[in-house]
Amino acid sequence: MKRQLWLAANSLVVFLLLLVVWQVAVKALHVPAYMLPGPRAVARAVVERFGSLEQSFLLTAEEAVVGLLASIVVGVGVSLVFAQFSLLRRVLYPYTILLQTVPIVAIAPLILMWAGPGLISVAMVAFLICLPPMIANTTQGLVSVEENLVHLFLMHKATPMQVLLQLRLPHALPNLFVGIRISAGIAVIGAITGELFAGSSRVGEGGLGYSILYASGQLETDYLFALVVAAAVLGFVFFFAGMFAEWYFLHDWFDGNLTEVP
């Protein structure tokens, strides 16, 4: 614990040092503010425009949450079907990998064209990039149950449903949470990517992605930086929420590391 605190303190010192170097460099080299604002200018932008920043932050958060939750529900559902029907799994699993290899930037415009701009289509972009790791990790957990455990259930005349829900599903929980942790991190990226294409009909009401686009168009570089900081914070929040959920549900009985399926 002490060592961790010490390391955290060191990281903080490095961060503060970077800010100082940044500020001094911007001042000394007379970099114009629209090219690179100093940290003080960025901080001022955060404070002065906190209202719209907060609005964008919350909107993006909402889109990412909807996408993430949908990917958890659909991902677990698909994985349960995959676990129960191995033929189906062998036929369809490659497509989930394929889904992962298609660049999201390439399909985002399509989704927007089909679903129209708004929360739903942005959440759908987030959903699409969250889905493959959910399916890959959960399926791995469901099918990697030890044969003897299945035998044990069969000795007690367990039905296939009992094997699935009382053996395979709890066995897959650690993997499922690995999937959630990975997906939580990229859900925010998905939402922001979606917003880059979705835009918004009214100024100041877009999410982080839209506002980034808008701010860069207006050369409001200090606000652009503020938005980037907000996006980073949002990503952190999601990642740690995922970690916390994992710890909360598993720490009683699970200790060990799992191989991740990215």
Binding site: H151, H156, L167, D252, F254
Partner: protein, 273 residues
């Protein structure tokens, strides 16, 4: 010779009724390897039979056949006159590792079978509590498996097998992962329960000493393919306690079985990869 074959039995036998009958059993795997070839023997009610043999002799396969977890290629296996699958109610299987569900506490692991069979909660909890007392685990009922030692986990596994009140117990090298001290203690406990519950037991092991200490009879199998090489009565008086292991008779019997085991020759059939 006549007086030595007259072996004392710890459990009264029911008129030579073969509780487990294995007749002309051959088991070939899909890949072509023959695990068992023309294996026949019976296990009478109340007997404790150990299966002994080098790896590849099909001991575990034989146990799985009796449990109905895999099917024969040729021959028949009957358990109490029924097919193994239909007889599952009478049978409990104890695996080499404890095979506990890590997300369930000790008591919920022990109650697993009853839960799957939809036994009502009050009955279930009462039976589980009773069984935890029998194996001396009542203090750790609320713990998770990861908090237990190897020996304790095995005890939980045994308690879990016993709650469904089996008549037949199948054990597949249950104590192989334990240190010798714990193993001896578990053996003594198993014997105590056996005498009390009067099960019919099939026990797979690599250890001659363990087989001699526990069994009424020992079936020695030869590998490649698995065949019955010897069926031996264990000439060791009952009851058996930890003192038994120090006796000359015990040592002599272990020596005799070991010699038989060493004489076993593998067959021509090598495993096909």
């Amino acid at each position: 010779m006549a007086e030595v074959t007259q072996v004392e039995r710890p459990v009264k036998l029911a008129a030579n009724f073969p509780e487990i009958a294995i007749e002309g059993v051959t088991k070939r795997f899909r890949q072509g390897a023959t695990a068992l070839e023309n294996v026949s023997f019976g296990v009478e009610k109340g007997e404790f039979v150990s299966l002994l043999g080098p790896s590849g002799c099909g001991k575990s396969t034989l146990l799985k056949l009796v449990a109905g977890l895999t099917s024969v290629t040729e021959g028949t296996v009957t358990v109490n006159g029924m097919t193994p699958k239909n007889a599952r109610e009478l049978v409990s299987f104890i695996f080499q590792d404890a095979t506990l569900l890590p997300w369930r506490t000790v008591e919920r692991n022990v109650g697993l079978g009853l839960e799957l069979e939809r036994v009502a909660r009050p009955t279930r909890e009462e039976t589980v509590a009773q069984m935890l007392k029998v194996v001396g685990l009542e203090k750790v009922a609320k713990r998770y498996p990861r908090q237990l030692s190897g020996g304790m986990k095995m005890r939980v596994s045994i308690a879990r097998a016993l709650v469904s009140r089996p008549r037949i117990l199948l054990l597949d090298e249950p104590f192989a992962a334990l240190d010798e001290m714990s193993r001896d203690r578990m053996n003594e406990e198993l014997l105590r329960l056996y005498l009390e519950q009067q099960w019919t037991v099939m026990f797979v092991t690599h250890s001659v000493a363990e087989a001699v200490f526990l069994s009424t009879r020992i079936v020695i199998l030869a590998p490649h393919p698995g065949r019955v090489a010897h069926v031996e009565e264990v000439r060791l008086p009952w009851p058996r306690t930890e003192e038994t292991r120090m006796t000359e008779e015990f040592e002599h019997e272990v020596g005799r079985i070991s010699r038989l085991l060493r004489g076993v020759k593998p067959g021509e059939a090598r495993e096909v990869a």
